[in-house]
């Protein structure tokens, strides 16, 4: 038994941690935009960290439960409701068969992640369940009437006779995992193509996320950055988080569906630890940049990984205890 999409959202896809090992063929890794949220949503229902989840944007789909399921939402808060009653985010929730999940309004964030116990069944392409939108392979894009099945039978006995749904009595605390204030970058190989004034502008003036932003990249609007005269670059690899300088002096940050190579100056790279925070920012939001060294970027990620690991362990432990008691 399954869930069924009653009303399609604007871009709801199945994603996992991405498709690696094929960038030499121009096949980009893709995967979830916010890996932190994927990991938390999965931990809340007792899944391994990279189990396939549904990534939803606002307005998100309306979803009918055709089976009682253990699910969780993490990432953005789109004020989810079950048959009109508020459903909490960052909590494991058992939802009764026949219930309808809807989303009211965008309260925080840009993407919500919907996990089910056992992970969602989807097409595997090149060892990944991530939906590759360009070549239309792997994963699944959710349209009206799409049915998705969990990979595992759902645990029974979680709900008493009366309730529509039941939130289990713990919540993942996620605030410390997202960066407040400026986002951090390391210098890119072509950082020095910026003029001295442009370097100062980069770190002193803010950037607004353009409407022209998607899973491939976020275009930023800010004071145009000038460059010193340089030779045209030949194509070289780019990565998730790369800040490319476009010919008009504006920046683009490469996101999950980035091209594998590019020929624009790479003035910086956002650090891995701050990518989830950027993925939860919407068009029109502003942020500023600060610079760290590669070593600092590694240290910051290590601390974040340890916090996340602790949270994942706690979630798994609580759920295992709870299921034993049911």
């Amino acid at each position: 038994m399954s869930i069924q999409v009653i009303k399609a959202g604007i871009l709801d896809t199945v994603q996992d941690a991405g498709r690696y090992g094929y960038q030499q063929l121009g096949i980009n890794p893709g995967g979830v935009m916010d890996r932190t949220a994927m990991r938390i949503a999965n931990a809340l229902v007792g899944n391994e960290a990279k189990a396939p989840v549904i990534e939803m944007h606002f307005p998100a789909a309306e979803i009918l439960f055709e089976e009682t399921m253990l699910v969780a939402l993490s990432g953005a808060d789109f004020s989810p409701r079950i048959n009109g009653e508020a459903m909490p985010v960052h909590k494991p929730v058992c939802v009764r068969k026949g219930s309808l999940l809807t989303f009211g309004k965008q309260i925080t964030g840009a993407r919500t992640y919907f996990a089910v116990k056992g992970g969602w069944k989807a097409d595997q392409w090149l060892q990944s369940y991530s939906t590759h939108l360009t070549v239309k392979a792997g994963g699944r894009t959710l349209g009206r009437t799409t049915r998705l099945f969990p990979q595992q039978a759902q645990p029974y006995g979680l709900l008493n006779q009366e309730t529509l749904f039941e939130a289990l009595p713990w919540q993942a605390s996620v605030t410390g995992l997202y960066k407040e204030g400026s986002l951090r970058m390391i210098q890119g190989h072509e950082f020095d193509t910026l003029t001295q004034a442009a370097k100062e502008t980069l770190f002193s003036s803010g950037f607004t996320i353009s409407r022209d932003s998607n899973r491939m990249g976020y275009r930023l609007n800010g004071q145009p950055l000038q460059t010193v005269p340089t030779r045209e670059l030949i194509s070289t690899a780019v990565t998730r988080g790369t800040l490319q300088l476009l010919p008009d002096g504006q920046l683009i940050v490469l996101m999950a569906d980035h091209q594998t190579t590019g020929g624009y100056p790479r003035v910086g790279h956002l650090i891995s630890a701050d990518m989830a925070s950027l993925a939860q920012k919407n068009a029109g939001e502003q942020f500023s940049l600060s610079v760290v060294t590669v070593q600092e970027a590694e240290n910051i990620l290590l601390r974040q990984e340890m916090d996340l690991q602790q949270l994942q362990n706690a979630c798994n432990f609580r759920l295992a205890q709870y299921l034993l008691g049911v």
Binding site: G21, G26, K136, R231, I234, T239, T260, H269
Partner: protein, 238 residues
């Protein structure tokens, strides 16, 4: 001992390292890239996620989260840097690695080659000469990028080198063969594009249903073979 031409290492984000032999498109630099690429493909480097060869550079993308957890207190970048240096020292960079030779049928009929006449006029040679020149050299697949399976090939004979269109087309059909400066390439999917279109191949450069979805690999050698419009449609339906 192999000679090691001057190279430079730099971080390409906090989870990738690039080795470059300079900002140039030469067969020699690309041979070094491909030799190192094949050498590293054959070895198991812990935490390595992707190898991205380009014209004159190779980038290693690694699983930083997994590596820092396994090696707390150490510089992961430093570890990758020394492994890469060691590899460069032990690989024969001047030896060109095995290359597949791939023949690609191309139909140069004007109905499939919207820029062919303008290109021939610009270079003051006949359409037949453009076709003859384009099909008489073999091309090296320097790298794949832009789209899944989009091969950047070179070098195009000076007599037919043509800059990209000033205004890109919103849709270029899959299979279209284009020229951009000294590069030639084939669009694997319908996509926007600014290359000068001189023909079309009936082959599928990219097919998700194949176990190996891309027809071309970096380092391949490509020969274009002219076919008629009848042959084109026959092959396309096959």
């Amino acid at each position: 001992m192999s000679s090691t031409p001057a190279y430079q290492l730099y971080p390409c984000g906090d989870h990738a390292i690039t080795i470059t032999w300079g900002n140039t498109i030469t067969e020699e630099a690309n041979q070094q890239v491909m030799a190192l690429y094949h050498y590293l493909c054959d070895r198991k480097i812990t935490g390595l996620l992707d190898l991205v060869p380009a014209y004159s550079s190779l980038t290693l993308v690694y699983d930083l989260a997994a590596l820092i957890k396994k090696n707390p207190g150490r510089s992961v970048y430093g570890m990758m840097e020394s492994q890469l240096q060691e590899a460069v020292g032990s690989v024969a960079l001047d030896r060109d690695t095995v290359r597949n030779r791939v023949n690609i049928p191309v139909c140069y009929d004007l109905s499939l080659a919207p820029d062919l006449v303008a290109l021939s006029e610009q270079h003051r040679i006949s359409v037949e000469e453009v076709i003859q020149i384009h099909t008489s050299s073999t091309y090296r697949v320097y790298m794949i990028g832009f789209l899944p399976g989009f091969a950047y090939m070179g070098s195009v004979d000076e007599r037919i080198r043509t800059a990209r269109k000033t205004s890109p087309r919103t849709i270029v059909p899959a299979g279209s063969v284009g020229i951009a400066g000294e590069q030639t390439g084939i669009y694997p999917l319908d996509s926007p594009g600014g290359w000068q279109l001189v023909g079309q191949t009936p082959l599928r450069l990219f097919d998700v249903t194949r176990a190996a979805p891309c027809l071309l690999q970096p380092g391949d050698e490509v020969q274009f073979c002219p076919i008629t419009l009848t042959e084109f449609y026959k092959l396309k339906e096959a």
